[in-house]
Symmetry: C2
């Protein structure tokens, strides 16, 4: 395994590429400008949020073998902002000496929900019970397993490819493709644990965050940091996250999403092997943000400090229902007057219902203040047409 | 006076240009990526720190009329990261409807140290006594005014164009060009007050910072925020800064550098009508950074919150003496291990003695901790070849 060479050791800048040019790439590149690094982005849309913030932008399809391979050869390292990238090209690039964050086998496991569930099972990581269904005919036989959540094996994203199946009639809504049927569990809390691991295997845990979802769109509405957990539960959460990432044997940054059930059991839901929505608050509320942390790992620097400077709430700014077209931000002025709010708009020209258009982080030592201001932001700042 | 139209009001992105592509432009562009704005940079060096972070980079001479005019027409607004830009082009662009931050008359006053001193005099703003010397012959007659500081009228920057004249023999070191000879005053403290003013004339004052200079290079070594001042002195400092910027009748952000003499008198030294070295700590230590604040002003948003999240010290990382060439950062790894330090390296490929290569901000509520860590950074992180 080749080690990253810190730019402290050589006169030329390390060359690092990002597959995908959305808001995660945008915020990665904002953080990159604190370090000596030459940046590359590939994305199909040359007006994407990250396109103008890198040294070298390539318009191309991140799921295409030749496009990804051509983009990657000659780079020192590559990371991703979405799992749906061409894996074979990354495997070939890795074999030729390009460092990939996360390593291709991790991507392979995670981008397929069946393999991901099997990974948790294999490593005795607690997760909800599941059955693999290869087609709708197999699914139809599983009435006895309901209520359950049906997740398509490949291609799901941001709530697409997930179907809640409560009763027999719902089985027709399931996917006629390889999928996992996960036992529905009575959820008390939904949390996420961001965790970083470097080439040496050293790890750094952020405080877990507690989340609330929009039940219609299955999109994150807002999240509190730190999550309110008993010390005992916190230790379990951290131990699970460590087990998840150590067994991957790959440097990188990971968001381990977990459920806490009504009995206090902690179960892994899903893992994202990259910077993630549930780490956005770390930009202002923590010493080393998730974006800063990934650059430290890729550039061979020491891991950053994951401590919170202050508690925080992060609110996603999501395209309002019924509005599709050129965006106007209703309530932006009022939001920008909130004294402890940090506004991030991703520069997307068009809004549509459910599209992530930005986020706002509130910091305060008072939880009531966090709740008050985040509710205000959620009511006030509306991407419309 | 045309008002900026917030992007909340229109579907197309406001187009904003920056003259100069150094570290100030770089940090402005990092902050710009939180807002919907299309960015433009002009600078002679296409590998400058800001070149890759804007939507549209133009290689060109910011002191050339035609280059600046061509760059600026069609933009909604322009700001600067250095005063030495072509003023006539900005005047023409302003007449044609481009908003300029700061307005050209302010630049005209500030870029000439003689006009700047006269401005303070005219508005009864306390500053050290001065004599205008148009050439060395005039200077030679001023032995009685020594000890004094001779500052060239136009063209000085970062310590160039400033000469300390203690005794008669030193007069030969003075400038044979229009200049001001400023009475040397016994300085107790050197401080800087960042202040923002928007189109409506609303102002926002950051806490003043206290500075220590490198006596050899006249470059800022490190600065403490907030400055340790009596309440009475603080009020005087704020009142002076308000007088300086209100009389300019221009929106923008300003750094008003002041001396406090041994008797506690506050005297203005110089004003920078732009984002400034003495505001770098605001990126992490304050709610709205100086860079965020300028975007708010240019985009017609409300002024940001200038409060400190925590006290801070900022250390400039300056090219080590005797090292000219491709840079290596000695001590970078050790610096990155400091848990409350934020490292900013500007991505300059070459170092030379005295060149600003980066800065590090430390935050802590304990002053001893700030001093301890900043001294450690200053000893540890060395740009060498």
């Amino acid at each position: 395994m080749q080690q990253p060479s810190s730019s402290g050791e050589s006169g030329t800048l390390p060359r690092v590429g990002i597959l995908g040019g959305g808001q995660l790439g945008r915020m990665l590149l904002q953080a990159a400008a604190n370090y000596p690094v030459e940046t590359f982005v590939m994305e199909n849309d040359s007006e994407c949020p990250a396109a103008h913030l890198c040294h070298h932008f390539t318009k191309g399809d991140i799921t295409d073998f030749q496009a990804v391979y051509n983009f990657g050869k000659g780079l020192d390292a590559i990371t991703i902002e979405i799992e749906h990238v061409n894996l074979e090209a990354l495997e070939k690039l890795e074999a030729e000496g390009v460092r990939i964050y996360p390593k291709p086998p991790v991507l392979k496991t995670i981008k397929n929900k069946i393999l991901q569930k099997q990974y948790y099972q294999q490593h005795q990581i607690p997760a909800s019970g599941f059955i693999i269904t290869n087609n709708r005919a197999e699914l139809e036989k599983q009435e006895g397993f309901l209520p359950a959540v049906h997740k398509i094996g490949e291609g799901g994203y941001d709530g697409r490819g997930v179907q809640l199946l409560k009763k027999k009639d719902d089985l027709a809504l399931g996917f006629d493709a390889p999928a996992v049927l996960e036992k529905m569990i009575p959820i008390d809390k939904e949390i996420a644990q961001m965790i970083a691991i470097n080439e040496k295997g050293e790890t750094a845990l952020y405080p877990p965050v507690e989340m609330l979802f929009n039940p219609d769109l299955n999109l994150l509405d807002y999240q509190l940091c730190p999550a309110e957990l008993s010390t005992q539960t916190l230790y379990v959460v951290e131990a699970i996250a460590l087990t998840v990432v150590r067994n991957f044997k790959s440097p990188g940054i990971f968001a381990v999403e977990m459920f806490i059930d009504k009995k206090g059991n902690v179960l892994v839901n899903e893992t994202a092997p990259r910077v993630h929505n549930s780490g956005h608050h770390t930009i202002e509320a923590h010493y080393s943000s998730q974006f800063d942390m990934l650059w430290r790992i890729m550039l061979g620097y020491p891991l950053g400090n994951t401590d919170a400077i202050l508690p925080s709430i992060m609110v996603n700014i999501i395209g309002a229902p019924g509005h599709t077209g050129e965006v106007k931000y209703e309530g932006l002025e009022e939001t920008l007057k909130i004294e402890n709010a940090f506004v991030h708009l991703y520069g997307k020209k068009h809004t549509k219902p459910g599209r992530k258009m930005g986020h706002v982080t509130i910091i305060s030592k008072e939880k009531q203040e966090l709740l008050h201001q985040s509710n205000k932001v959620k009511r006030t700042l509306l991407p419309r047409t």
